[in-house]
């Protein structure tokens, strides 16, 4: 894509983002937008794990719960401010992922899938039963809104900008990682572990790194979730939630960061838009995953980019005047 058009798109995006909260009158709708943004951050983490490194986790909401509970407990039990709960949530999630990743990432595909699902369930049981520590099924209430440097993020509007800012920062960081050597090693592992080993990549450590990074994002999302809703409970992080996160990633295209973001927004709004189909909501969620896998496994962005490829290839086959430029060949564009 030409650089100028990229700049134009960025500007447009900036304008759209700035005006959104002024266009949406209803606090309720804005709240849903904010929730979607939080999920988007979490799903980007899933893209790291699933899309880049090819590791299937069916228990991703467990990672988000660690961030949320860390935040909730620190804020409510110890009255610690946001500037502490935020990094704490991230660090604890990463440690947790490290702990869990070490034994489980030795497993292959469906083993890992089952192990992560089992983990999700086990953590859920612990969260519910260990009342003294986690407040059990009641959950943690009255989590304060974040305030730092004199500001309190109170209104949905303020939250919108806050979440989008963090989302963008996370996106930039993730994109940079994706393009770096680390990112490439993730993708190499996904292509084929044996081949990656042969190339000198420590597959095991790479997988763990992917897992830890993805949990950093999940932890961030969890922290924001806790502060936004001001209430968390084990039920917010059950298996259904994990499957929903997964479907968000798949819908947008599991290999694309932006796919995850789009998927998060769409699938958060879909149940709202389809409220009249209440009883069918979860059914549709399941069918959606099924159909996407059958018809378009590469998700929205996958379909879109293969369309782009086809168009590009068409253009190249009959070039207007100049001969094909090496720099224009896909994959080498930076």
């Amino acid at each position: 894509m030409k650089k100028v058009s990229k700049i134009i798109i960025m500007l447009l995006l900036a304008i759209i983002i700035l005006s959104v909260p002024h266009l949406i009158k209803s606090d309720y709708t804005l709240h849903v937008v904010n929730l979607a943004g939080i999920y988007a951050i979490c799903v980007m983490g899933l893209v790291f794990l699933l899309g880049f490194a090819g590791q299937l986790s069916l228990g991703h909401s467990a990672l988000m719960s660690i961030g949320a509970y860390t935040t909730g407990l620190l804020a409510v039990e110890l009255n610690l401010p946001f500037v502490i709960t935020f990094p704490a949530a991230i660090v604890v999630s990463m440690l947790f992922a490290l702990l869990i990743g070490i034994p489980t990432l030795k497993l292959k595909s469906f083993y890992l899938a089952m192990a992560t699902r089992g983990l999700n369930i086990a953590l859920f049981i612990v969260l519910i039963n260990w009342k003294r520590f986690t407040h059990g099924a009641d959950g943690i209430v009255n989590i304060p809104r974040p305030s730092f440097a004199g500001f309190t993020i109170q209104t949905e509007r303020a939250w919108f900008y806050f979440i989008v800012a963090i989302l963008i920062v996370c996106y930039i960081a993730s994109r940079n990682i994706e393009k770096s050597r680390i990112g490439r090693s993730f993708k190499a592992v996904k292509e084929g572990e044996l081949a990656a080993e042969v190339m000198g990549i420590d597959v095991y450590r790479t997988k763990i790194l992917a897992f830890v990074l993805s949990s950093a994002l999940a932890g961030t999302a969890g922290c924001l979730f806790a502060h936004l809703n001001q209430f968390i409970c084990p039920n917010d992080f059950n298996i259904t939630q994990s499957v929903t996160l997964l479907s968000m990633s798949i819908f947008g295209g599991s290999e694309y960061l932006l796919g995850g973001v789009v998927g998060a927004y769409v699938l958060t709004f879909l149940p709202e838009a389809l409220r009249f189909l209440q009883t069918y909501a979860r059914f549709i969620n399941g069918i959606l995953i099924l159909l996407i896998m059958i018809l378009a496994p590469s998700g929205l962005f996958g379909v879109v980019s293969s369309l782009f490829e086809k168009l590009k290839r068409q253009k190249k086959l009959d070039p207007p005047n100049n001969s094909p430029n090496i720099a224009d060949v896909e994959g080498m564009e930076n």
């Binding site: 700049i7 309720y28 099924a137 500001f151 209104t155 001001q230």
Partner: protein
């Protein structure tokens, strides 16, 4: 590439600036307040208004319930009983001379969805009052939001904290809370001469909370707890737990479960040779659930149940009407939901109008009001202003698996 990074940074910068501006203006009040429905607004006429002025807007009452998810049985029961009631209410002139319209919102058996549903009903649909879900965690999730928005609602969860903790003003509790029920249960056991119960509870918010309350009370009374056993939702085999109970020498069993597990538990107790005449079993209202006698069959005979509602006993005419329309007997879920809804109607009636503060006062002014299931509701007491019901009924299953009255117990 350098350009791209620069522009991304530019965007982030712009965002941060605008965020600072808005956060700085965060002194602004909430953007939305629940708007009062104008009783005299001239609107398009309603579809069916048999008797009076077609110029009055209908009164919208929101109901948050479990239409999907693991607790979907509750939603179905609620809709059936409330729909039947509202139809009749409207046919008889409605509420304050206006038609009543019910807006159901599914909470998908999940807390965040419950809160979203509450937001929607208050901010978008502008209802007059809301009937909350039957499940305590959902109610506890909604409560801070209700207090923040200043909107009156009737929670139907059992957890005492709903109506007590943090001095709520807008949150009312429509069922006998578990601050009282465990005491009533232990009183009952005392009468039977039992002081060494085993507790069997379901490992979710409801069960764990109930168990904790029992343990505390038993400790206060100086009784012993023979054993405490748990099960998870979806568990079906309780051999181990029942063996534990048998081995513990318990003289009675307190069971705090949900419907499905209740039926299975009773059946397996029987299969393992536990004699309910020697070791009485008293369960929570779930034991009156529709599916329990189906699954348990004869093994349900002799089980005691403590419940807020036991519709077949408290209002047989209504139960018959329910059966005629829906082909199945109503259970406590249908009855409790209806009782809550009727309470809201009563509150609005007393309020005379539909703005939040008036409705809130309406609730507080409910005194000794006999609801559809023949027990009294009184809000606004000095000791527990937000609570309305303090009595329960204890029933048992007779040989024909019909509910038989045992006692009406009050705090």
């Amino acid at each position: 590439m350098r350009n791209k990074n620069m522009f991304l940074r530019f965007i982030v910068g712009v965002l941060l600036i605008s965020f600072v501006l808005t956060a700085g203006c965060s002194a602004q009040t909430q953007t939305e307040q629940p708007v009062e429905t104008e009783p005299n607004a001239v609107e398009t006429p309603e579809e069916t208004q048999p008797v009076e002025e077609t110029k009055l807007e209908p009164i919208k009452i929101g109901v948050i319930t479990e239409i999907t998810g693991v607790q979907a049985v509750a939603g179905k029961a609620a809709q059936e009983s409330i729909n039947q009631y509202v139809k009749e209410l409207n046919a008889n002139g409605g509420l304050l001379g206006r038609e009543v319209v019910v807006l159901y919102e599914d909470d998908q058996s999940a807390q965040t969805v419950a809160v979203n549903a509450f937001n929607k009903l208050v901010l978008e649909d502008k209802v007059a009052a809301i009937l909350g879900p039957l499940y305590s965690t959902h109610c506890l999730a909604i409560k801070p939001r209700a207090e923040e928005l200043g909107f009156p609602w009737l929670a139907m969860g059992l957890n005492d904290r709903i109506g007590t903790e943090d001095d709520p003003k807008w949150t009312f509790q429509g069922r006998t809370s578990d601050a009282y029920t465990p005491t009533l249960v232990l009183n009952f056991l005392e009468e039977q001469g039992k002081h060494n119960p085993a507790i069997m509870y379901i490992g979710d918010d409801f069960g764990i909370d109930g168990k904790d309350k029992f343990v505390k009370l038993l400790d206060e009374r100086g009784w012993t707890v023979a054993t405490i056993e748990a099960m998870q939702t979806g568990d079906k085999d309780f051999t181990a737990q029942i063996l534990s109970i048998r081995a513990s020498g318990a003289d009675s069993i307190i069971a705090w479960l949900h419907q499905e597990e209740a039926g299975l538990f009773l059946r397996q107790l029987e299969e393992q040779g536990v004699d309910k005449k020697q070791i009485p079993v008293i369960g929570n209202s779930s034991f009156l659930g529709a599916g329990v006698t189906d699954i348990a069959g004869q093994s349900a005979v002799g089980t005691y149940v403590i419940s807020g509602t036991a519709p077949m006993l408290q209002n047989p005419e209504w139960s018959q009407k329910f059966f005629d329309e829906y082909g199945a007997n109503p259970d406590f879920l249908a009855a409790d939901s209806l009782d809550g809804f009727a309470t809201i109607v009563r509150a609005i009636e007393l309020a005379g109008t539909t703005d939040p503060e008036s409705v809130r006062q309406g609730f507080l002014s409910i005194k000794d009001w006999i609801g559809p299931f023949n027990f009294a509701h009184t809000f606004g007491t000095a000791e527990s202003p937000q609570h309305g019901v303090f009595s329960s009924i204890i029933v048992t299953y007779d040989e024909n698996l019909q509910t038989e009255f045992v006692a009406q117990v009050t705090k």
